[in-house]
Symmetry: C2
């Protein structure tokens, strides 16, 4: 499995991904799931991927090939980020259909596209295996793919549109840490990409291995503070107990 999360803020974008892939529990590998596209300088595009590795690799391959071959539709000549999302959706659907027709199985994948095209706002899209897509909103500034449930509560608590890029990155790392703690199919290295709006060429890219001191510090500090929080919770009072002993008489 996989866990990736993208956050769209007033200040820019933060994209985070794990690197564990598996074909069955006894076939575990490490692959990056974050692809920054080589583009013309008027745009910045990053793709996060979850799902079948053959499918997601083929999507990226096709994106690169269309640029290389100067196809009329490629990521460098689209005017809107939504057009890029639509284009990725079409590639995705065609690949999934092809694999289904020739192999008789559904090699699903889901993508997150983050980026900005000069003169427009930075934005975030989630592209479904059916080829359609949604974007984030001011109320829901983040999009998750893969094993999304374990790490959702902490995002719900702290991610707002006006958060700083660094706070969003730290929150995404805590979300990733909670997911890794509860699910063995999500694992390091963890990549974080911080894109400041209107910056285009030089996002900050972080890659944290399992034993990275910063990742360990985040994990230990969070565990330490949660432990303190847990110890200080209000106690249950005897008086709060209900008098009834038998709970149900259906």
């Amino acid at each position: 499995m996989t866990y990736c999360v993208g956050v769209s803020l007033d200040a820019g974008l933060v994209l985070t991904s794990d690197s564990r892939t598996n074909a069955g529990i006894d076939n575990v590998s490490t692959y990056s799931k974050m692809y920054q596209c080589e583009t013309t300088p008027d745009r910045f595009l990053v793709i996060l991927s979850a799902g079948n590795l053959a499918t997601t690799q083929a999507v990226i391959q096709q994106v690169k090939r269309d640029v290389h071959e100067g196809k009329p539709r490629n990521i460098n000549n689209m005017a809107y980020l939504a057009d890029v999302a639509d284009y990725l959706g079409e590639i995705l659907v065609n690949l999934i259909r092809k694999h289904n027709e020739q192999g008789g199985f559904i090699a699903d994948a889901t993508l997150v596209l983050g980026g900005q095209i000069k003169g427009r706002e930075p934005n975030l899209y989630m592209i479904y295996p059916q080829g359609n897509y949604i974007t984030s909103s001011s109320e829901t500034p983040y999009l998750q793919i893969g094993e999304s449930k374990y790490g959702k509560p902490v995002l719900d608590r702290f991610i707002t549109r006006d958060a700083s890029l660094e706070d969003a990155a730290i929150c995404s790392l805590i979300s990733m840490d909670s997911t890794m703690k509860s699910n063995a199919s999500v694992g390091p290295p963890i990549e974080v990409l911080i894109y400041k709006r209107d910056q285009f060429t030089t996002p900050k890219h972080y890659k944290f291995d399992a034993e990275d001191p910063y990742l360990l510090a985040i994990r230990q500090e969070w565990a330490h503070h949660l432990n303190q929080a847990f110890r200080s919770m209000p106690r249950l009072e005897e008086s709060q107990a209900q008098p009834n002993s038998y709970l149900r008489a259906l």
Copy 2:
């Protein structure tokens, strides 16, 4: 949906359940999912349920009827808790099969059984829709059914076999709160049952409505402490950033 969690400790058992049911998102109701069985005084049995409401109600109905009619196999004459789990599994499978045959659909349900029979240890079982079951262990002292992922990280952090009953109850409530925050299909009232080992007749039963002061206090204190923890996380350093600008060249 549903979220229920049972915890098996050296000190006894803690069982927690929500009360929201839905048949489609526009048909939401409130039903308790915690059933303490009326038994002979040599035993204590509680069932938590997730899944199709007609199925789980029919299971409880059958359990009560078999006692009432003095059937050779009923919850009062089984020597082991595992026998009760097996019996519940059989009822469950037969009901699911019946509804499938007559209605052409799978009305799945999953149960957690917690209890103790005099002379034996308290124990916890999870019973699958296929009728088989697993028990908890010293390494995994809790079992969850329903929307289990949101609330799993906090259980993984704090639940150990030697935890106190009260700590396990508070941890279960935090786990429930995180789940309710991220998933609208899980909702109050929240029930908590605390069973001290070898006590049999008088477990403590708590029922918290949405506006219950204790539930609100837990929620607010936890949010407050997490906020403080988040604000004190170590900051990302510029120097941790990777030099490479382009992440992948497939």
